[in-house]
């Protein structure tokens, strides 16, 4: 662990251990209809992440909204290699929890620090979906 690396703890929902770069939004996400499942690009008009790709990112967001087919969108994106590699929710819902199972990616929520304020887009993050631990430091690499 390099200097400046901090840790906070959440509750693990789905297992897995991955590291990567964070993509953070305070807006809820509709994976179905709000994201192009073929590319992983957010297409919802006016969304804070509009035109950004969630592919390969550790996606930090409050939870899901909208269509209940969103879990399937996470499955499709994972199979096509354009989905997020882990999810951190303020509070997970049925769509993100079932979607993380289908996509085979770790999901952590209800953290002892607000992940939406603590983490910033581009931060390096390691998500432990077995223990709920989230390690991070500012900036990439």
């Amino acid at each position: 662990m390099r200097d400046g690396t901090a840790v906070f703890n959440g509750m693990p929902v789905t297992p897995g251990l991955v590291e990567g770069l964070a993509l953070v939004t305070c807006e809820r996400i509709a994976f179905n209809l709000g994201v192009d499942e073929q590319t992983g690009v957010v297409i919802e008009r006016g969304h804070a992440l509009e035109r950004q790709s969630i592919a390969g990112r550790i996606l930090v967001f409050p939870g899901c909204k909208g269509s209940t087919a969103s879990s399937y969108s996470l499955l499709q994106m994972a199979a096509l290699g354009v989905g997020p590699i882990a999810l951190i929710n303020a509070r997970a819902d049925a769509l993100s929890a079932a979607g993380a199972v289908l996509a085979g990616i770790p999901l952590v929520h209800r953290c002892d620090q607000d992940p939406l304020r603590t983490l910033k887009t581009g931060d390096w993050v390691r998500v432990d979906g077995y223990t709920g631990a989230v390690q991070w430091h500012r900036g990439g690499s």
Binding site: A69, S71, S73, A97, A98
Partner: protein, 411 residues
């Protein structure tokens, strides 16, 4: 969440890979939402969304069937992406068909409707079920008094296991209202109920609402209301005293007497309408009725309003329903009447989303509909503008080619 020894066995894969995956979904959701246990469900209604699922989703559903997955409770299927009444040679989405066939092999009824209630598929009061398609969930909780959360892929997991985590709508305390809305407007016609459903969902946010000041809602009105409510927010239930079975009075829905009413008036309905149409005469390209799927009553109404007149050449008028109502319409001669007028009637296909290929219209197409759900969802996925109003307005627009705004009489 505590699992029984038998549920743990399924999670560990002793009952096969399909059960294992289903149980993993239910366990993750139950843990995330603080459920204490899994409870049995009486039925499941599953959405096989061909756009969200694509080939990977179809491969997954097919693998469940091939690995021996079987639905252990009565399971119905939501609307699909193609018209099952069309003859051989008509376009069929191959992945959609694979998913549908796999689910039939697992024991589902190929009802293929977003309005299963119109097919007689309806849970009874107090039944715990796992239904996806948010409009059906709102209707079954609020109007039938059955119990379901807004399920997605989890409905398929419940079909495979007969179980759902006990949280949310399965807990009577979590079904109670936290906000009270008094309708201070004359809500009479079907599109008024759609507008009201959308206004209510936005104003309520995450507070379950009870609505007073409504009378005379018929089931078509309530279903349009539930669909607009569901698509405009995230709530699985509303209460209308006297309609909602567990809420004969306001106090049954809202025990907290300190909550004061918030008014919804004509200005709110007018503002909602302005989101869906300009309120001026304009040429229309498409007319669509039946989102959620048209009931027999809806189909009758369209035929009566057409009264033998023909749809204007160049205007596409589609009436979307399910195989059950399609069959009844065919036997009663209604189908022939509608087709003679130039209306395209489809069975099982979801409304509208599949209609517009890229570049079909040189200009931005104008869509007229009596469905707030269609008016809200169409511009999100296609380059269209909308006109929203009564079935009569839609039929007249199809015949004349011109939309005429309605005089607003909510005061």
């Amino acid at each position: 969440m505590r699992l029984t020894a038998e549920q743990r066995r399924i999670l560990d894969g002793h009952e096969g890979p399909a059960g294992k995956q289903a149980m993993a979904m239910l366990e993750a959701v139950g843990n995330a939402l603080d459920a204490e246990a899994l409870i049995p469900v009486a039925s499941a209604h599953i959405v096989l969304d061909a756009f969200a699922m694509g080939r990977p989703g179809a491969d997954w559903v097919v693998s469940l069937a091939e690995q021996g997955g079987r639905f252990v409770v009565p399971t119905s299927i939501n609307a699909i992406s193609y018209d099952r009444s069309a003859g051989p040679g008509a376009p069929v989405d191959a992945h959609q068909r694979r998913m549908l066939e796999a689910c039939q092999a697992m024991g589902a009824v190929p009802s293929c409707s977003c309005n299963p209630f119109s097919q007689g598929i309806a849970p009874s009061f107090g039944q715990h079920v796992a239904w996806s398609e948010s409009a059906t969930t709102a209707y079954l909780n609020a109007v039938l008094g059955a119990r379901s959360n807004r399920e997605g892929a989890t409905a398929l997991a419940s079909a495979l296991t007969g179980l759902t985590p006990r949280y949310g709508m399965h807990d009577p305390a979590q079904r109670l209202a936290g906000a009270w809305f008094e309708v201070d407007a004359r809500v009479r016609e079907a599109p008024d109920y759609g507008l009201l459903g959308a206004v209510l969902a936005r104003r309520a946010g995450d507070r379950i609402p009870v609505v007073t000041g409504l009378d005379d809602a018929c089931s078509e009105h309530l279903f349009g209301f539930a669909a607009a409510f569901a698509i405009s927010g995230n709530l699985p239930i509303f209460h209308i005293p006297g309609v909602t079975p567990e809420a004969p009075t306001l106090r049954d829905a809202l025990p907290d007497a300190s909550v004061r009413p918030e008014k919804i008036g004509p200005a709110d309905l007018a503002a909602e309408l302005a989101r869906h149409e300009r309120g001026e005469e304009r040429a229309v390209d498409l007319v669509t009725i039946g989102a959620p799927h048209a009931t027999i009553q809806d189909i009758h109404e369209v035929a009566d309003l057409l009264a033998g007149r023909r749809v204007k050449p160049g205007v596409e008028f589609t009436l979307t329903t399910n195989c059950s109502n399609y069959e009844v319409a065919a036997r009663g001669g209604l189908l022939r009447t509608l087709e003679a007028s130039g209306v395209r009637v489809t069975a099982d296909r979801m409304c509208f989303g599949c209609d517009l290929g890229a570049g079909k219209f040189a200009h931005r197409a104008v869509l007229a509909t009596n469905s707030l759900k269609a008016a809200l969802s169409a511009p999100g996925t296609r380059e269209v503008e909308t006109c929203y109003g009564t079935t009569r307005q839609c039929v007249e627009a199809a015949i004349s080619g011109t939309w005429t705004p309605r005089r607003q009489e909510w005061n």
